[in-house]
C-alpha cells in the first residue's frame, strides 16, 4: 500500500517538473523568436533611408509618399511592446507597399542595379519579418494552449504563467484588394 502512495507521489512530481520545464522552455523560445523579429525590423529601418535616398532623384512628384514612409519608420522605431510594434509595422508596410507600386511607373528605376539590389534586400527582409512573425505566433499558440488545457492549467496558474500576445496583422492588410471595374460615365 505504501508503495502505491509513493508511486503516485513520484509520478505527480515527474508530471509537475515536466510541465513546468516545458512551459518555461517555451517562454524562452518565444522571447528568442521575438528578438529575431526585432533584428529583422531593425535591418529594415536601416534599409529604408538607403531606398529613399536612391529613388528620391527619380520620384520627384511623390515626395509626399516618401515623407510618409520616413514618418512611419520613425514611428515604428520608437514603439514599445508587442501590440504597439505590430500596429506601427502595419502602417510602415502599407506606405512601403505604395512606394513599390509607384516604382513600377519609373522604367529608369527598374533598370538601376542599385535599386534592384535594394528591392531584393527589402523583399527578403519583409519575408523574414513575415516568417519570423509566423514562427512567433506558432510558438505563442503552443504556449497558450499548453497553459489552458486541463490539467496543466492548474499548474500554470499556480506558477504564474501568463498567456503571450500574438503579433497580429492589421485588418486592412488581410482584406483582399477590391478592384472597381465599373465604368463611370
Amino acid at each position: 500500500m505504501i508503495f502505491v502512495i509513493w508511486g503516485i507521489i513520484f509520478a505527480l512530481g515527474i508530471w509537475i517538473i515536466s510541465t513546468y520545464n516545458g512551459l518555461t522552455s517555451l517562454r524562452w523560445r518565444i522571447q528568442n523568436a521575438w528578438r529575431q523579429i526585432d533584428v529583422q525590423l531593425k535591418r529594415r529601418y536601416d534599409l529604408i533611408p538607403n531606398l529613399i535616398e536612391t529613388v528620391k532623384g527619380y520620384m520627384q512628384y511623390e515626395q509626399d509618399t516618401l515623407q510618409k514612409v520616413i514618418e512611419a519608420r520613425s514611428q515604428a522605431m520608437t514603439s514599445k511592446g508587442v501590440k504597439e510594434a505590430a500596429e506601427a509595422e502595419n502602417a510602415l508596410n502599407q506606405s512601403l507597399g505604395k512606394i513599390f507600386a509607384l516604382m513600377e511607373n519609373y522604367p529608369e528605376l527598374r533598370a538601376n542595379k542599385n535599386v534592384l539590389d535594394l528591392q531584393e534586400e527589402l523583399t527578403t527582409t519583409e519575408n523574414q519579418i513575415a516568417f519570423s512573425r509566423q514562427y512567433y505566433n506558432d510558438l505563442v499558440t503552443q504556449y497558450n494552449t499548453k497553459q489552458q488545457v486541463f490539467p496543466a492549467n492548474m499548474l500554470a496558474g499556480f506558477f504564474g504563467f501568463k498567456p503571450s500576445e500574438f503579433f497580429e496583422v492589421a485588418e486592412a492588410e488581410k482584406a483582399l484588394p477590391r478592384v472597381n471595374l465599373s465604368l463611370s460615365r
Binding site: R29, E120, T124, Q128, S132, Q134, Y135, L139
Partner: protein
C-alpha cells in the same frame, strides 16, 4: 531505425549460428561475426558522422555561394527566410553547377547541416517555388532525416558486406560439414535470409525514405503556408527533368526528386514503387494541391495519376 539495427543484429547472429556454431556448447565463446560486423558498422558510422556531409558535398562538386551574383544572393535570402520560418539555425548553402534541376540537404544535425541547390533549379524556378524547395530541404533537417539517411546508407553497406561473407562461406567444405549436423528446417530459411538480406535492407531503407519525402513536403507546406509553391516546383521540375550525372545510388535518396531517372514522372506500378527512393511525383503533387485546397489542380493531378 531500430528495425534496421535489429535486422543487422539478426543477420550477424544467423551467420554466427550457421558458420561458427555459436550459441551452442561446441562453438566459440563470443559470437564473432556479430561483434565484427557491429564494430565495422560503428567505425563506418563514426566516419560518416564526422565527415559524411563534406564527403558527399565534394563528391557532388558543390561550391560555396558567391553573394555578388544576384541569383546566389536570392538563394541565400530564401534560405535565411526558411530558416527563420522553421526556427532553426541557418544551414550552410552550396550550389552545384549543373543544368539538372535538383536540391539536397545533408549533415548530421541542425548545427552542421548543409543545403545544396543546382544552378539548373535556380534558373528554372521563380522565388516562390525556390522557397518551396528550400523549405522541403529544411524540413529534412528539422525532421532529423539527414542523420537517419546517413545512418541508413551506412547500415545498407554493412549488411551488404555481411551477406557477402555469408555467400562465400556457403561454398567452403568446412561449412558443409558443419551444416550436415544441423536441422535443415532451421538453417535453410536462415540461408535464404542471408541471401536476400541486401534486398530486404534496401526495401526497408527505401520505404523509410519515401515516407520521409511525404513528411518533408507536408512540413514545407507548414513553413511556407503555401503548398502550391512546392507543387508548382515539382511540376516544373517534372517537365524539365534530366538525370543528374554526379548522383549515385548511395546519394539518390538525399535529393529533392530522384536524380537517377531520365524522367522523374515514373510509372505508378507497385513493383517499381517498392524499390524507388522517392514516391511518385504525381502523388506528391496531388497531396500538395489537396493541402492547398485548389480543387481544379487537385482534379488534374488525380487524372494524371490515373493515366
Amino acid at each position: 531505425m531500430i528495425v534496421f539495427i535489429l535486422f543487422f543484429l539478426l543477420v550477424g547472429a544467423v551467420i554466427d549460428y550457421v558458420y561458427f556454431d555459436a550459441f551452442t556448447s561446441a562453438g566459440p565463446v563470443l559470437p564473432i561475426a556479430t561483434i565484427v560486423s557491429l564494430g565495422f558498422a560503428a567505425f563506418a558510422t563514426l566516419i560518416a558522422y564526422y565527415g559524411g556531409s563534406d564527403i558527399i558535398l565534394s563528391s557532388l562538386g558543390a561550391e560555396k555561394l558567391n553573394l555578388q551574383i544576384p541569383e546566389h544572393r536570392e538563394l541565400h535570402n530564401v534560405v535565411t527566410e526558411m530558416a527563420l520560418a522553421s526556427g532553426s539555425t541557418m544551414p550552410r548553402v552550396y550550389v552545384i553547377f549543373d543544368p539538372a534541376p535538383n536540391a539536397l540537404a545533408t549533415g548530421t544535425n541542425e548545427k552542421n547541416a548543409a543545403i545544396c541547390v543546382t544552378t539548373g533549379l535556380l534558373t528554372l524556378l521563380d522565388r516562390e517555388e525556390t522557397q518551396g524547395v528550400v523549405a522541403h530541404e529544411i524540413s529534412h533537417i528539422r525532421n532529423e532525416d539527414i542523420l537517419l539517411m546517413t545512418l541508413v546508407s551506412i547500415l545498407l553497406g554493412g549488411i551488404a558486406i555481411l551477406a557477402d561473407w555469408g555467400h562465400r562461406g556457403f561454398y567452403s567444405s568446412r561449412t558443409g560439414r558443419r551444416l550436415s549436423n544441423k536441422n535443415p528446417l532451421i538453417f535453410i530459411p536462415l540461408l535464404i535470409l542471408i541471401a536476400l538480406s541486401p534486398l530486404v535492407a534496401r526495401l526497408l531503407a527505401m520505404a523509410v525514405s519515401r515516407q520521409r519525402e511525404y513528411l518533408a513536403d507536408a512540413t514545407a507546406a507548414q513553413y511556407t503556408r503555401n503548398p502550391a509553391g512546392v507543387a508548382q516546383a515539382l511540376e516544373k521540375i517534372r517537365d524539365a527533368a534530366m538525370p543528374f550525372h554526379k548522383a549515385t545510388r548511395g546519394t539518390a535518396h538525399l535529393f529533392f526528386v530522384n536524380p537517377l531517372r531520365r524522367s522523374v514522372n515514373e510509372s505508378d506500378s507497385k513493383l517499381a514503387d517498392l524499390l524507388a527512393s522517392h514516391p511518385p511525383i504525381a502523388r506528391r503533387i496531388r497531396l500538395l494541391y489537396q493541402m492547398a485546397g485548389i480543387a481544379q489542380r487537385f482534379m488534374e493531378a488525380s487524372q494524371a495519376l490515373a493515366r
